[in-house]
């Protein structure tokens, strides 16, 4: 199930994407079930001299590969874990990372302590000794996670365009926006990627983005009042000077022209979705086995 992995340096050694690829075969919830090809689970390591912050811990199936990626980058630093979603892409490898590396703070959204919430994998026996040594902090609506002791900060906020409770994060030091489940529509025919794009030749259309959104997690957008979602998205990109969009899944988008293209495609998709007939009840008639 681990088909390809790679490390991408996004900002001169300050942010690394830890990319682990998975096949789109109808089963991943990141994409419509008809989607084929490959996407990636992206974790991000923000590095300072004295400390590092890992955004997401990825899927269990990537445990060994992710551990090897961290081994090459972390050194003697303590890692803080930022888990901005209440879903498995944030959760799965927190325990194995804490068992293997020095982990300080675990930032989570739910009302459990990290050693309880994140000790759920049946293949990891015994008590969660690594997590037991960590401090649990809860993410609130707008929060700041320090990255090292030099004043660098990861700014957390909740976008209006979301399915489940989640935070996006912005690293002002590198202009990197961590966009969770959004900007995840790009996929690849080959597991080798490329998983970083700065090209406007992706040819992403608003129709493609709309099909992606309505075909899966954002089924509810059809016929919805998308005006507040569009204005909120515009406000996010007005407030933050984004040089790199770093989504949880799929290629990372770097460069202002490429970002503008993806943002325009998203805005067009949201505008078009509003004009559609609601399909919230039609979704109940979708059949997994037929469609897949």
């Amino acid at each position: 199930l681990t088909v390809h992995d790679e490390i991408i340096d996004l900002a001169d050694g300050k942010v690394f994407a830890l990319v682990n690829v998975y096949e789109l075969d109808g089963r991943p919830s990141s994409h419509p079930i008809e989607a084929r090809g490959y996407s990636s689970m992206n974790c991000y390591l923000l590095v300072e001299d004295d400390r590092a912050v890992l955004v997401n811990t990825g899927y269990s199936v990537h445990d060994v590969a992710l551990g090897a990626q961290l081994e090459t980058l972390v050194g003697s630093r303590t890692i803080d874990l930022a888990l901005p979603r209440v879903e498995f892409p944030s959760f799965c490898n927190a325990r194995s990372i804490a068992d293997r590396f020095s982990v300080g703070v675990v930032w989570i959204r739910l009302s459990y302590d990290a050693p309880i919430l994140l000790n759920f994998r049946p293949d990891l026996g015994g008590p969660a000794r690594g997590l037991a040594r960590t401090e649990t902090r809860r993410i609130s609506t707008r929060d700041v996670i320090p990255v090292g002791s030099g004043g660098r900060e990861l700014e957390l906020f909740a976008p209006k365009l979301r399915l489940l409770p989640c935070s996006w994060a912005y690293d002002r030091a590198t202009g990197t926006l961590f966009s969770g489940e959004i900007f995840t529509w790009l996929r690849r025919d080959k597991p080798t990627g490329p998983w970083l794009t700065s090209s406007t030749e992706e040819a992403t259309t608003s129709g493609q983005v709309e099909e992606f959104l309505l075909g899966n997690r954002f089924w509810w957008l059809a016929g919805a009042d998308t005006d507040p979602l569009r204005s909120d998205m515009a406000a996010i990109f007005d407030e933050f000077d984004v040089e790199t969009i770093a989504p949880d899944h799929g290629p990372i988008v770097r460069g202002r022209a490429a970002i503008a293209q993806q943002l325009a495609a998203l805005d067009g998709a949201l505008e078009s979705a509003k004009q559609r007939s609601p399909r919230g009840l039609d979704v109940d008639r979708w059949r997994f086995k037929v469609a897949s």
């Binding site: 079930i33 799965c92 994140l118 009042d225 008639r285 059949r287 997994f288």
Partner: protein, 261 residues
């Protein structure tokens, strides 16, 4: 003024051979509580676990099931996750390890990436599929109120209990002694307010759509088509009298307002 009830610890039987499992968790910052419940369903031939549990509670759930051993329940052959969110499938790996004959049927999106050792025991299920427990069946039902798109609900045909996962989700106040009670047993329960509280946090999408078609479909499915006598949600107190209580649910859904970012 009615006296506040005394909280009840789980497990609790909510119908003959159906047990409510889980623990009441405080929502950060107040006296609000919520559940991530799982239900244990006993048939004549085999047993089933309804929903897959939150990642923080599989050991608690398995310990509670162990306390039911005196009932000599038949082998667990099924686990029915309503959807693959970590709050509804987080216990699945440990459940499948504990019950080696069990297969999970429901929305199992992503779970081959989460529990790869058990990928061969994960099956998608579509509305209309039926699973025989002996003396009763579990029928897969459309998930009218959902987050993940392939969510599924489940219905026990003999005891007419609906397991709606994220449907009918609401918080409750610990101070009102509500923990472990049916909604109808808690006089102080402001179900509409608590439903809106939960929905604003967890079902963000509901603020941006016309909610009336959902209410209409929920009414028809629960009261007319299924004739459900008990609603056993993952995140709320069990509803023991749907016809009496659902109007308060509709009130809560209609009260959703768009919060500031």
């Amino acid at each position: 003024v009615s006296e506040a009830p005394t909280p009840i610890s789980l497990p609790r039987d909510i119908a003959p051979g159906i047990f409510w499992l889980g623990i009441c968790k405080q929502v950060p910052g107040g006296t609000l509580h919520s559940y991530s419940s799982v239900y244990f369903v006993v048939g004549e031939q085999c047993s089933a676990i309804m929903d897959g549990g939150v990642t923080g509670e599989p050991d608690v759930i398995l310990a509670q099931i162990a306390t039911l051993d005196g009932l000599d329940f038949p082998e667990v052959k099924y686990v029915f996750p309503t959807h693959s969110e970590a709050g509804h499938a987080g216990g699945l790996g440990k459940f499948l390890r504990r019950f080696p004959s069990a297969v999970a049927h429901g929305d199992v999106s992503d779970l081959h990436l989460v529990f790869p050792d058990y990928a061969h025991r994960l099956e998608f299920a579509d509305p209309g599929e039926r699973f025989d427990l002996g003396g009763t069946e579990i029928v897969v039902v459309e998930a009218v109120f959902r987050d993940l798109v392939h969510s599924r609900w489940f219905f026990d045909t003999k005891r007419r209990v609906l397991f709606p996962g994220d449907g009918f989700a609401y918080t409750h106040y610990h101070t009102s002694g509500a923990c472990g009670h049916l909604a109808e047993e808690v006089p102080e329960l402001d179900l509409a307010e608590n439903m809106a509280t939960f929905a604003l946090a967890a079902f963000h999408w509901a603020q941006f759509v016309d909610i009336e078609p959902f209410i209409e479909r929920l009414h028809d499915l629960v009261l007319v088509e299924l004739g459900a006598q008990v609603l056993a949600p993952t995140h709320g107190l069990v509803i023991g009298d749907p016809a009496l209580t659902l109007p308060r649910v509709w009130e809560g859904l209609r009260s959703l307002k768009q919060p500031a970012r």
